[in-house]
């Protein structure tokens, strides 16, 4: 029997199989410049990680027995970067076949084997907000992930306890589909009407179920269960944070008015290129903005843009983050933060907050990540050179105290699964078009449908 167990063990090792529970690590990072974000920058400081949590921050800490020590002398330690808008690690992005698909969720399509996860880690990113695309007005629920690369089980990457979030979309993307098909919405007015109608439908749905439940009578036929309406009800009840694809100031203002009418408070505008025009209004509502540093003019509604957006929003008191929306940009979000500093003269700390604590607040995970504080998760990145310098180099990235990226021991091929029928050339050539996925799957076409009669 022993022998059989041993041989099974050998097989498991040979197949690279590890147990499917999220790991936590212990590590002592010595003598670095620790950028805490929430409590200043501490020179020559140690960070002790026990069991995946930051247990102590201080000077001259000793490593408990068996805990690895990393010398960070002359290096910078900062909280792991959080990308509030990403489409990596998902096998589908849009269920764009109907205008309101609140019931679908990116949690069902997580691909833990996407090598983009490793690329993001190599840029110091530790968490992403895997978002549904912007093909429809109320898209799908998003999924907040920790980049625990190495497991093939999607459950291992989930940010346990993170609040639910959902994607809305305004403007050209959802109306493009409407116009192409001759249905609502064909204009920004139609988008607003659809949101209002959907939320009103959800109120009616809730009323029907409340009545049924209050009667406590199993001799009554239950109303039809509708996962779409259930989800919209959860938005109305504040259980789901809304992240809305938007560009123009007028549509941003419109959605705040709608949400005021329905009493929905938790709202982040994604992209929000014209958010600077309504910064005081955003601050008053308490809405957040997650934007690009200097990317615009890729379609008409994105022409009126400025690289001062982040600085204007920040100085008006709007919680702002810089996101990637791209498998390429995600590797250098620290540069994107630095651009905002160049244009808007934000302080080092405010600039780095754009990619750490601010996105954490927008995702409702700031009690766990986004800054270096005792008791928080040990999601950390170590840089050679200040992370806002163009010469900075990411060296190591930790999630829950486990090192997932180390420049010194970086293997050439980081894929977790290799298709035996894949073409070597396809692996080597990086297709830049794959990196912008916001409208992926919006035009439904699979191999099978090529052979269909239409």
């Amino acid at each position: 029997m022993k022998r059989k167990i041993l041989s099974i063990f050998i097989l498991l090792v040979a197949f690279g199989i590890t147990t499917a529970t999220a790991q936590t690590g212990d590590v002592l990072i010595k003598n670095g410049t620790v950028i805490t974000i929430t409590d200043g920058t501490l020179e020559n400081t140690d960070v002790l990680v026990r069991d995946g949590k930051i247990s102590r921050i201080g000077k001259n800490l000793n490593a408990p027995r068996g805990v690895e020590e990393i010398d960070a002398t002359g290096k910078f330690v900062m909280p792991g970067i959080i990308d509030a808008h990403s489409h990596i690690a998902g096998t589908s992005i849009n269920e764009g076949t109907s205008q309101v698909t609140a019931e679908v969720s990116m949690e069902d399509v997580v691909d833990p084997m996407d090598v983009s996860i490793y690329r993001a880690l190599a840029g110091g990113v530790t968490s992403i907000h895997l978002m549904h695309g912007s093909a429809n007005v109320i898209g799908g629920q998003n999924e907040t992930l920790k980049l625990r690369y190495g497991s093939t089980n999607p459950d291992d990457l989930r940010f346990e306890g993170a609040p639910r979030t959902i994607k809305f979309a305004l403007g050209e993307n959802p109306t493009r589909g409407g116009r192409a098909r001759g249905i609502q919405p064909q204009s920004r007015m139609g988008v607003e009407a659809m949101i209002r109608n959907s939320l009103n439908d959800a109120l009616m749905y809730k009323k029907a179920w409340d009545e049924y439940r209050s009667q406590r009578n199993d001799r009554k036929t239950p109303p039809e269960y509708d996962l779409r309406m259930e989800t919209l009800v959860d938005i109305l009840e504040g259980e789901i944070l809304v992240h809305c694809h938007s560009y123009r100031a007028d549509e941003i203002y419109m959605l705040m008015k709608v949400f005021n009418d329905f009493g929905i408070e938790k709202l982040t505008f994604q992209h929000a290129n014209e958010a600077y025009k309504v910064a005081p209004e955003l601050a008053e509502f308490g809405a957040y903005a997650s934007i690009f540093s200097d990317w615009w003019a890729y379609k008409l509604e994105v022409y009126y843009s400025t690289a001062y957006n982040a600085a204007i929003l920040t100085k008006n008191g709007v919680n702002t983050s810089i996101n990637s929306d791209s498998g390429e940009l995600i590797r250098h979000l620290y540069h994107e933060a630095a651009k905002s500093q160049k244009y808007g003269q934000l302080s080092d700390n405010d600039a780095l907050a754009l990619i750490t604590i601010n996105p954490a607040i927008q995702l409702g995970i700031d009690d766990r990540v986004g800054s270096i504080e005792e008791g928080k998760d040990a999601d950390l990145a170590i840089y050679e050179g200040h992370p806002l310098s163009v010469y900075t180099v990411p060296l190591m990235t930790f999630v829950d105290g486990v090192k997932y990226f180390d420049r010194a021991t970086d293997a050439k091929d980081q894929r977790l699964y290799i298709d035996p029928e894949s073409n070597i050339q396809d692996i080597q050539i990086l297709d830049a078009h794959d990196h912008h996925l916001c409208m992926k799957d919006a035009e439904v076409m699979d191999f099978n449908s090529l052979f269909n009669n239409k």
């Binding site: 197949f15 199993d218 699964y417 298709d419 029928e421 894949s422 052979f451």
Partner: protein, 561 residues
Amino acid sequence: MKLQRELVFGLSLVLLLISGSTSASAQSDPTGESSPTRTYAITNATIVQSPGEVIEGGSIVFKNGMILGVGTNVSIPGDAQVIDGTDLFVYPGFIDGMSYTGAKRPEQMERPDNLFTPNPPNDYAGITPERTVIEQIEVGDNSISNLRKVGFTVSHSVPYGRMLPGSGSILLLSDADHADQMILMSNVSMYTQFSGAPGAYPGNTLGIMAKWRNLYINARNQNQYAQVYSKNPTGLERPTQDRVLQAFYPVVEKEKPVFYNANSLLEAQRALRLMNELDFELVLGNLEDGWHMVDLLKESNAKVFMSLDLPDEPKDSDDEDKTDEVAELEKLRMESYKNHLAQFGLFDSLGITFGFSTIDASASKIKSNLTMIVEAGLSEDAALAALTTNAAKLLGIETITGSLESGKIANAVISTGPYFEKDSNVKMVFVDGHKYDFEIKEKGAGGSVDAASESTLLGSWSYVSTSPQGELTGKMIFEKEGDEITGLMTSDGGNPDQALSNISFVNGTLSFDYSFDGGGQSIEIVIVGDITGTDFDGEASVAQFNISFPITATKDAPNNN
């Protein structure tokens, strides 16, 4: 490979004879050799009763579709047709856990207007769990004889469709006049897959997962209410009469398992996710890459039918100038391929019971695939168990079939040597006591192209194919390298050249296949046709999508330079 091709050819002749000569009874025997009671005795054979249970020099008797006796001391009834089993191996008939065997893909329905709605018509959306595979069965369909020829006698067949095509039935792979005659057990499963409707909801995995939950929870609610109503309907609102939801009731009651076509690691994990959330009986079918999730499989106790479609062996580039990086990538790709083949042995060593599904496998490759799986570490007994006893248990038919025991259905495979050896051939298959003979030709020399007709084939051909994507043109080029005939398919549309495999040209019939990457999945195209002079007239078929289309070619004049 040549042998298998010839078997296909031989078998189609046999079938032609059978179907051509009879109408009232498909099994009538114009030679008068078989008895009306279907009594057969195979004597002095190596009989593998079940995996690991071998009788040397034994006899087995079939009568009226059942096994009458098996052993070394069996009395042979007087009316039995006696088959000398010397040098022959008798195995229980194989059982296919999930396939489209016998089913014909229905015509695509017209694309309705107004598809861009949350609730497109159910039949277009592919939500038709109330349908059954039996409606799609075509007796005498090639898929039945092709699968039987490699040893399968029973198939759990599922219907074609999209997300929820309908219920599966367990069929006997016999020639029948009517589908009902093939049914061993009807409507045993609810078949489902991650297959979205083109341009309509649910369009992909996102919508499919959500729709699944929505349907299931409504079915659970409505089922509960329907039971209350049925006890005392007076004064109550009538329950909804929704055939889709009603099809879910036995699933909700755990009387019927869900067969999920979960082809990949991610699909299988998604199916398990639904099972854990909603609590139904799950069978994973058609799993190709399961070695990363052995712990999940063990934990969940989900039943598994592994795909018998194996990846093609990767071919390393023979470019001498290739970089070290390319060489390293090739090495990793080869390791992955080997893991694919070795996973079956891994499953067995970890005690994960599995059967096989042929839904994506081309029948002509099944026997060689099984041989490769055994060579990669799965014991022959375990491979046989996956094909017989385990498959029977997973389908719940182990009391009637899956082993060669008295009283069980007369389903058996007779091969000319141990089945999992490369050189053995299936000589005969019994399904429900009906005998199917296969002509076995001796292996000739010089590959699968007749030396005499070589010159007819060799050279360049210009082809035209009317595929559903439109007209395709290009060249088929056949060359001789050493003793081997090689081939290449070029495309005027700019697609990469495709190397051809399994080239066979015998008695004027040319056949070959090739595969290409169709957006992440390997698509295999098989081309078969006849050459008359310098004209080729054939058909290209894609088994995965059950479609075929014409292809013709004309031989180019020899090149002068």
